[in-house]
């Protein structure tokens, strides 16, 4: 039910819905990505109307997601990362992130019965990933370099496959470890069975004042935000309220339809584990301050310094505090 989103509506530019005068906001999300759940919550609980807009979901392919946002295929993305926004800035597209959507939800997993305890034990062995230029892989690569001095790209024997196929590869023994985002890493833990050998969120937070680079963020073009200030504020408010709703249930909401269908966990067991995982991490964040903006900038600078995907950071910070942008 939730995965709908009318194709016609998606094709049209920003506009107003027919029944009432509320502006339509098209959210783009990956199928099965937990970052989309709050949007579904917004729709289900009527938070959109409450905050003066009507939410639509546009499902996008991970590879084409950034392009889709840039060409105006959606108004707000819930799955963009800082690196991509920096790239967009470098190409002259003024898109910004304005709120984190998911924490650093990615991990490195090995099989449970394997002897490997740290990423260093895996040097020289087969490691599965889903693309050297993917956000997940580059983030982990940079952290491993900073924390362990490991060059992910050369020290490991890399094997590429789609993100969803990685748990299978680990289980079948094809690779010794995988780096993947959640809840797929969790699936590997349950199915292989496996265990985490490196948890970036915690590892990075330990040495960085509790901050770690968000997996994904809410993003939009600066122009859209400035032209629709009230709607933009409504979107953020609705998002925060949705996240609060989820957290209020300790993420147990995930076990209800239609959220359960959205998350599409491999099994109930996996869903349970994911709920526990989220409640523990937590998955969604509930504040975003100038400090976070700076941390993100520093992180991106570190990426640029290591020549990972970007060569330099954008002139202006790619993250904005909505309250400051839209007084």
């Amino acid at each position: 039910a939730c995965s709908g989103g009318s194709p016609e509506g998606a094709a049209a530019g920003p506009g107003t819905s027919e029944e009432d005068d509320l502006p339509v906001v098209r959210f783009q999300a990956f199928p099965a990505d937990p970052a989309g759940v709050p949007v579904v919550v917004i729709q289900e609980m009527g938070l959109d109307e409450k905050h003066g807009f009507r939410a639509e979901v546009v499902e996008v392919d991970p590879d084409a997601a950034a392009t889709n946002l840039l060409i105006g295929g959606a108004d707000v993305a819930v799955e963009q990362d800082g690196v991509t926004m920096t790239l967009a800035q470098a190409q002259g597209y003024d898109t910004v992130v304005f709120y984190p959507s998911l924490n650093t939800m990615m991990s490195m997993v090995v099989r449970e019965d394997s002897p490997y305890q740290t990423p260093e034990d895996l040097v020289g062995l087969k490691v599965g990933h889903f693309g050297v230029d993917s956000g997940t892989t580059t983030v982990i690569a940079l952290m491993l370099k900073e924390l362990y001095g490991i060059d992910f790209f050369t020290d490991y024997d890399l094997r590429e496959a789609g993100p969803a196929a990685l748990p299978e590869l680990l289980a079948s023994g094809e690779v010794e470890a995988i780096v993947d985002y959640e809840p797929l890493a969790l699936r590997a833990v349950l199915d292989a069975p496996g265990r985490y050998v490196f948890e970036p969120a915690k590892a990075w937070a330990d040495v960085n004042e509790g901050w770690s680079p968000y997996l994904t963020n809410l993003a939009a073009s600066r122009a859209w935000l400035e032209e629709n200030p009230e709607t933009a504020k409504g979107v953020l408010a609705a998002w925060k309220e949705a996240v609060a709703e989820i957290e209020a249930t300790d993420y147990e909401l995930f076990a209800q339809e239609p959220y359960k269908e959205w998350i599409a966990a491999g099994s109930d067991e996996e869903l349970e584990a994911f709920i526990t995982y989220c409640a523990d991490l937590p998955c969604y964040l509930d504040d975003f301050t100038q400090d976070d903006v700076e941390q993100l900038d520093d992180w991106l600078a570190l990426m640029a310094e290591n020549d990972l995907l970007i060569e330099e950071v954008a002139e202006q910070p790619i993250a904005v505090i909505l309250e400051e942008l839209l007084p």
Binding site: S3, G4, G5, S6, P7, A10, A11, F30, P31, A32, V58, E59, D61, P62, A64, T67, N68, I71, G72, G73, G162, A164, A165, P167, E168, A171, S172, L184, A264, G266
Partner: protein
């Protein structure tokens, strides 16, 4: 492999290409399907990710009832329209090329170019031009399919010989009659092979194009399953594709081909 040696040495009675309809061909066809089923069964025994064939088939009715028809219909319309366009374009291109001369060369450059365009690239470019719209999907499929139609029909046209064309011009057939009674019947085998291929190709490309461009159709649904790695659902979709193609093959293409080529006598 049976062929050339068999032609020369075997030649059992009745003739090795048989006469009329053989019940054996139906059996062989069933065996072919069975071979696929066995392969699947074997795969499901040996790997953990291929679901058992029985379970999948048992789940299929429920899957059919789960509202997939709208998506199949949406994609089918795209496929058929785009394919029709591709065939028309391909036929025109082949025609121009075979006629020779300046424009033949120009057009054959474009056919070659289109032949070498990765569908992914076209899909991405179409996304930029058409944003998220039907037109993009349609265009991607048509562009992907037309050059193959063109080279196949070009081969057919080149193989035509001038004898019948000469006859047609002496008896003043005119364009319409020539095309209808001389050209088209001659092209049937070539057109059949390219339609068969391009129909399948179109389904493959529509899956790709729908990933990027629209929120409907089997490509979209298939990708949802694919991205979530819901193998069971993935396999159900696979069966759907297979049923779609087998259906059009055995219910439409083959009867059509048999009818169109019945003049050739016992060589089906």
């Amino acid at each position: 492999m049976t062929s050339p040696a068999a032609v020369l040495e075997a030649g059992p009675r009745p003739r090795w290409w048989g006469a009329g309809r053989h019940p054996t061909t139906a059996v062989a066809g069933a065996l072919g399907l069975a071979a696929f089923a066995v392969l699947w069964w074997w795969g499901s025994e040996r790997t953990r990710f291929i679901p058992p064939i029985g379970e999948t088939l048992a789940a299929y009715p429920a899957f059919l009832a789960s509202g997939i028809w709208g998506d199949i219909g949406a994609s089918a319309v795209r496929v058929v329209l785009a394919l029709a366009t591709a065939v028309a374009l391909g036929a025109v291109a082949a025609w121009v090329i075979v006629r020779g001369g300046f424009w033949a060369r120009v057009v054959s450059r474009y056919v070659d170019l289109a032949l070498g365009l990765p569908s992914v690239l076209v899909a991405l470019l179409a996304l930029m031009v058409f944003k998220r719209s039907e037109a993009g999907v349609f265009l991607v499929v048509a562009v992907a399919c037309f050059p193959f139609v063109a080279i196949s029909l070009r081969q057919g046209l080149a193989a035509m010989g001038h004898q019948l064309a000469d006859m047609a011009s002496v008896y003043r057939f005119g364009t319409v009659r020539s095309v209808r009674h001389v050209l088209l019947p001659h092209l049937v085998p070539y057109a059949m092979s390219s339609v068969r291929n391009e129909y399948a190709h179109a389904w493959r490309v529509v899956v790709l194009a729908e990933i990027f461009a629209v929120n409907s159709g089997v490509g979209h649904r298939f990708t949802q399953a694919f991205d979530r790695f819901l193998i069971d659902e993935l396999v159900l979709w696979l069966i759907t594709f297979i049923v779609l193609l087998l259906g059009s093959e055995y219910l439409v293409l083959r009867p059509l081909e048999k009818f169109a080529l019945r003049w050739r006598g016992d060589r089906s």
